[in-house]
């Protein structure tokens, strides 16, 4: 089922929880709503579920505006962060609840509950109560309950937050596979960018109720539209440095007291076309910063902190009261306090307008919707 959201607003008193949201979710797509807590992502999900009524704007399932339909009339399944399994009901009663409400025939109900439970690997636990299940099992029951009525749309509200790290990784894969095999249009709310990146085909990043950007994980990673998105997506987060933008006869340069780099002509030209201001925010991901021999370096910095991550080491450097972090192959050969030469990958330098916080590398009006 295709979902089309237009100019959607939700006000709580004077607080705008969701501000003029526009989003289109294709049939069968898995979309993540990503953002820090309080950004309006859960409010948006609850409007899709029909728990909240939109203050203005429209939500369409397919071609039909469903703003004022009750949850019952929307044919949706939802998985909650707390799982929200009814504590007095057994697993069977929990999963069969949506069918009981639909007055599905008893025989048919037994069959569908068993099939869904088997698919989720909880077929043996049907007579247990939620208190007798582990967190992972409860999660599966919650997903089974959402799936059993064969909904047109699945909604997930941070379903993995309450699981331990190992189980979360496993359920992440299971939910993704399940969604792909069933092809149900899914909206997945999370504040965990790794979850969003790994699971979703497209990610809508929200902040303060406003949609920041909407695109595929790679698009958001390689071409972030705003400083917020650039900083939010990717771990460890992107480095930001304030720089001067200069056009000279032989090309485009970024400069500050400590360093001066020449950026590729096409990037510079694009920035110029987008009315780049004198001062810009330059962004560079830690994996695009490398430690090099002195003659190849763009600038020098002092080792401040070394954080081994196993496969790589995350090293924080300091120069001119600025900080920059680099992902270097482990083991890192350097001492704290040692001065080293660093080089930035100019092909992957991002430039943002410090006033609007918007990227000046966007081509045309692409990217954000």
């Amino acid at each position: 089922m295709k979902i089309t959201i237009k100019a959607l607003c939700k006000l709580f008193g004077k607080v705008k929880a969701v501000d003029n949201l526009a989003l289109e979710i294709r049939d069968g797509e898995f979309v993540a709503l990503l953002g820090p807590s309080g950004c309006g992502k859960t409010t948006t999900l609850l409007m899709l579920a029909g728990i909240y009524k939109p203050s203005s704007g429209s939500i369409r399932f397919g071609e039909k505006v469903i703003n004022h339909l009750t949850p019952k009339e929307r044919n949706i399944g939802m998985v909650f962060q707390s799982y929200a399994l009814y504590p007095h009901m057994t697993t069977f009663d929990n999963i069969s609840y949506p069918l009981k409400l639909k007055k599905v025939h008893k025989k048919e109900m037994m069959k569908r509950v068993q099939a869904t439970a088997d698919m989720m690997g909880i077929g043996e636990l049907l007579d247990r109560k939620p208190a007798e299940l582990s967190g992972g099992q409860q999660q599966r029951v919650a997903v089974a309950r959402a799936l059993v009525k064969e909904p047109a749309i699945l909604l997930f509200d941070e379903p993995l937050s309450n699981l331990d790290a190992k189980l979360r990784l496993r359920m992440r894969g299971e939910i993704k596979r399940l969604q792909e095999s069933l092809g149900v249009t899914s909206v997945y709310v999370t504040h965990d960018q790794v979850e969003a990146m790994t699971m979703a085909s497209r990610i809508a990043v929200m902040n303060f109720g406003v949609l920041q950007t909407y695109g595929s994980p790679n698009q958001l990673y390689d071409h972030p539209d705003t400083v917020f998105v650039a900083g939010f997506i990717g771990a460890p987060p992107m480095n930001f440095l304030e720089m001067r933008f200069e056009e000279r006869d032989d090309g485009f340069y970024l400069g500050s007291q400590a360093l001066e780099i020449r950026i590729p002509d096409e990037r510079g030209a694009q920035a110029k076309q987008n009315d780049v201001p004198q001062r810009v925010i330059m962004g560079s991901r830690p994996e695009d910063v490398s430690v090099v021999a002195e003659r190849d370096g763009d600038f020098k910095a002092e080792v401040y902190l070394i954080e081994p991550l196993g496969r790589e080491d995350l090293v924080t450097f300091r120069f001119d009261s600025e900080e920059i972090r680099a992902l270097t192959p482990a083991p890192f050969h350097g001492q704290i306090g040692e001065t080293m030469s660093l080089k930035l990958d100019k092909e992957k330098v991002h430039l943002f307008n410090p006033e609007t916080k918007v990227s000046v590398l966007r081509s045309g009006n692409g990217g954000s919707s």
């Binding site: 728990i51 949850p71 019952k72 399944g77 909650f80 929200a84 007798e132 582990s134």
Partner: protein, 308 residues
């Protein structure tokens, strides 16, 4: 040593009070119920001596010609007030006031709570003013011009209606407070999940909210049964067991009448005590039955998580 003593030092004021004003009187009432102590032999009868104990009072109770009338009155009073008001209406008010605007619901509950904090004599005077004969009684002065009713004193024509209403209005506020706080304590996720699963408001109440109220329901039912069994002030002030002979006399009122009023020229403390003791036993039996019916053991059972 000092550390071991401290708990008892802190407990002692309450222990002394409870012993003096609860345990000792309880034992005394129990002993008194086997004697024929009354106003005439007070100071003469050695009521503490087992030689003066007998089961006569209990035989008197069960052979009393009004025994079945009093028992029937008590059962009717307790069952009707409990089911219709103290539990039934309390639940309805709690459900309605928690499903409407929060502030309106709260305001309504505050209003409904007022009779409970009104002195009982004032409260009963208001009911008497309602029930008064035409032209003074409020109900009669409204119904009279419409041609309904005979204009007689309503406490004489329909005493039970007024007894149950007067008790029920107060009684319902207790359950109302407990039920509404229990309903508001239900995690909102359950209610949202139920709606998303396709339930109407009524179905959500029926399948998700009511089961979550099992514990407060047990508590209110048990507590209010015991409370109604022993309550007699409202009835005493409204009808004092009348208007006919034993027409609205309940068990607790009988115990009071026998023990502490001089209806027949004396106050039969021993006989009254026997009525009270039987009432206490009825109360205990009822409480045990409730705990069995509601499967109290299961309500407090430990979870059985065996794997993570």
């Amino acid at each position: 040593m000092r550390g071991q003593l401290a708990p008892y030092v802190f407990l002692s004021p309450t222990l002394v009070l409870v012993t003096l004003f609860f345990f000792i009187p309880l034992v005394m009432v129990f002993i008194l119920s086997f004697t024929n102590l009354d106003m005439t032999n007070f100071g003469i009868l050695e009521w503490w001596s087992p030689a003066n104990w007998s089961l006569d009072n209990y035989i008197k109770i069960f052979t009393n010609r009004f025994f079945s009338k009093i028992l029937g009155n008590t059962i009717m009073y307790v069952v009707l007030t409990l089911t219709v008001f103290n539990v039934g209406l309390a639940l309805v008010i709690a459900l309605i006031t928690t499903h409407i605007n929060r502030r309106a619901g709260f305001a309504f509950r505050v209003l409904w709570f007022l009779p409970r904090i009104t002195p009982v004599v004032v409260y009963i005077m208001m009911w008497k003013a309602l029930a008064g004969p035409a032209p003074m009684g409020i109900i009669n002065s409204i119904l009279g011009p419409l041609g309904i009713g005979s204009g007689k004193y309503l406490l004489n024509t329909n005493p039970w209606v007024f007894i149950i209403l007067a008790n029920g209005f107060i009684g319902a506020s207790f359950g109302m407070i407990l039920f509404s706080s229990a309903i508001e304590a239900i995690p909102k996720d359950y209610l949202m999940a139920s709606k998303v699963d396709g339930a109407t408001t009524w179905q959500t109440i029926r399948y998700v909210e009511l089961p979550a109220l099992k514990w407060p329901l047990l508590f209110v039912t048990t507590y209010q049964t015991l409370s109604l069994l022993t309550s007699f002030q409202q009835i005493m002030l409204l009808t004092d067991g009348g208007p006919g002979l034993y027409q609205t006399e309940v068990w607790a009122l009988t115990a009071y009448h026998r023990a502490l009023t001089s209806y027949f020229g004396n106050t039969q403390w021993g006989y009254g005590a026997a009525w009270s003791v039987v009432l206490v036993i009825i109360g205990i039996v009822m409480a045990v039955i409730y705990l069995r019916v509601f499967k109290f053991g299961e309500l407090v059972e430990e979870p059985k998580i065996d794997q993570l």
